[in-house]
């Protein structure tokens, strides 16, 4: 007991004196550290508006309206003659996350974008902070479309980071332009606020509405079954009618991707896909999970049911391009879509006058998903 008290007292004495020392050092260095942070930020602001006489913090700047992008701070840059523009510090999801300073002139033209923080993969995602990618933004206007491959060049190997950064810049620029127009007589913009599509799995109802609009659907789950491959499960089917005409059928298929996914596959009577939507997926974030991005699933819209659905580069002349870094996920998706589309078309042909398929003398070739121990 006595030794316990002695040990505790010694340990306590050391920790208390250490804490005191640290508190003193902290008190002493804090003003300098704060000043450094302030200076770093002002340096960023100066990079954007070198001619500004000062930067006034804005407190009533609107929220971003997106769950994945936050506006942390906003400043109005002013010269002696008036307002030059606005700077927004915005943080948003890229591959991991990025914090940027986005400056927009009173004429809605963008200034150079300055990175404050970037936690993406070094050498890949961090290329968004480097030339030539980052240089593309200066001189664009807040009303541009900011689409990779159209008015912006992406980064090979870092598409998700590049898309994330361009979304942050676009949203910050749009709101800066609107704020300047409203409060400081800035040039008014055209068009509505950019909607940052949060790529996410959708419910079956939303998916049906997204593909078919507000057409009537009837549950035909009992009429359609998977006769091809037992590992893929049909978990529901809906016949879609446009007044009296059959518009198509949608099948919810569940199966293995990298982990597992549920996909709604919609087929038209003319043996083409009306579209596919991802209802659920447990695949790895940023890899297989990228199937929820419209850029991927929209590739299937209009695709003929009788296409081979083989994934490139696993099959050299494959007709479905693998998601970068997620070949196995893509193989699973392609198999599910192929089977569901084929069964859906067969159902439409047999019951609702859909176009019949050619007699298949060849075996039903699916992508082979590698299995691991």
């Amino acid at each position: 007991m006595k030794s316990m008290v002695k040990l505790s007292a010694t340990l306590a004495a050391f920790t208390v004196s250490a804490s005191l020392c640290l508190a003193l050092v902290h008190l002493y260095t804090k003003p300098y550290i704060d000043a450094n942070a302030e200076r770093a930020q002002t340096a960023g602001l100066r990079q954007i508006f070198p001619d500004a006489a000062g930067f006034d913090p804005v407190t009533d700047f609107p929220a971003s309206g997106s769950s994945s992008i936050t506006f942390n701070k906003a400043y109005i840059a002013r010269s002696e003659n008036g307002v030059l523009g606005a700077v927004v510090m915005a943080t948003g999801a890229t591959y991991k996350s990025s914090t940027l300073l986005v400056g927009t002139g009173i004429d809605r033209v963008l200034k150079p974008v300055v990175f404050i923080e970037n936690t993406d993969t070094a050498g890949l995602g961090t290329k968004t902070a480097e030339s030539p990618f980052i240089d593309q933004f200066a001189g664009k206007t807040a009303d541009d479309s900011f689409v990779l491959g159209e008015d912006l060049d992406g980064i090979s190997g870092a598409t998700i980071s590049a898309r994330g950064v361009s979304r942050i810049v676009q949203l910050a620029a749009y709101h800066s332009g609107a704020y300047l127009a409203e409060h400081h007589g800035g040039k008014a913009g055209t068009g509505a606020a950019p909607v940052v599509k949060e790529a996410a799995p959708m419910s079956v109802e939303d998916a049906l509405a997204d593909i078919w609009g507000d057409l009537d659907t009837a549950d035909v789950s009992d009429a359609i079954e998977n006769t091809i491959e037992r590992s893929i499960l049909f978990d529901g089917a809906w016949l879609v009618r446009d007044s009296d005409e059959v518009a198509g059928v949608a099948i919810l298929a569940r199966g293995q991707t990298y982990k597992a996914s549920a996909i709604l596959v919609a087929v038209r009577p003319d043996r083409t896909l009306a579209g596919i939507r991802i209802i659920e997926t447990t695949d790895t974030k940023n890899y297989g999970y990228a199937m929820v991005e419209p850029d991927f699933y929209e590739l299937f819209t209009g695709k003929p049911v009788d296409d081979p659905y083989l994934v490139a580069p696993t099959v050299s002349d494959g007709d479905v391009d693998a998601i970068s870094g997620a070949t196995i996920s893509t193989l699973g998706v392609a198999n599910m879509v192929k089977i569901a589309a084929w069964e859906g078309s067969r159902y439409l042909a047999e019951n609702h006058g859909g176009m019949p398929g050619a007699d298949r003398s060849d075996p039903f070739v699916l992508n082979e998903i590698p299995q691991w121990e």
């Binding site: 030794s3 340990l11 920790t15 250490a18 020392c21 902290h26 300098y32 550290i33 450094n36």
Partner: protein
């Protein structure tokens, strides 16, 4: 007097923490891409080592053996935090480029090793020479490795361009280059040690 000199050179060559004991390598390889980083890290480490060894040697008779490890850690962590805060306040750029490796001095085996095996048993005067020797032994290797890597990998030395950019070898700026240069330094140190030993026996 001879004892002091021996203690001091012990850390610099014979028992150099990086080249002979091969401890504290992570930080050594991670930050040695520029001479400035190497020197900064080396000095930060020397400071923490010196101060921790001093305090622990000073109080060595008061520290019960049962709780010595937590006390060592508290002392080391405090000095590391002090260095970290001071660097953030007065050398913000260096602090930015060394990043997480400054707080990680806490878990650097060199410090824990010297404190446990030396400072907790020896009087103050010996401890000063030991910690300076070990600290500077760490610092010169870091500065040396980073000088080679910065010169060949980026073509500069302390920021001044000496080799045109198109003649630099990116290999040296990346981790494999770090291992390679580190290996070369081990070889040179072996040679030095051999020479020292021969010199010693000749006397």
């Amino acid at each position: 007097m001879k004892n002091y000199k021996e203690l001091f050179t012990n850390g610099i060559v014979r028992e150099n923490p990086l080249l002979t004991l091969m401890i504290g390598l992570c930080s050594g390889l991670a930050i040695t891409t520029s001479v400035e980083n190497g020197i900064g890290m080396g000095l930060a480490m020397t400071f923490v080592l010196l101060m921790s060894e001093l305090i622990i040697s000073l109080f060595r008779k008061l520290i019960p053996s049962a709780v010595r490890i937590p006390i060592f850690i508290v002392v080391i962590a405090s000095f590391t935090t002090i260095v970290d805060l001071m660097m953030k306040a007065f050398l913000p750029e260096l602090s930015g480029s060394l990043g997480v490796f400054i707080p990680l001095i806490v878990v650097n085996c060199i410090i824990m090793g010297r404190v446990e095996s030396f400072a907790s048993k020896k009087p103050l005067d010996l401890v000063v020479f030991d910690s300076l020797g070990m600290g500077l032994g760490y610092a010169w290797v870091l500065a040396g490795i980073s000088a080679v890597r910065e010169l060949l990998g980026a073509g500069t030395l302390l920021g001044f361009r000496l080799i045109p950019e198109s003649y630099t070898m990116g290999f040296f700026a990346k981790s494999p280059g770090g291992f390679f240069v580190f290996g070369m330094f081990i070889a040179v140190n072996m040679l030095l040690k051999k020479r020292l030993a021969e010199g010693g026996s000749a006397q």
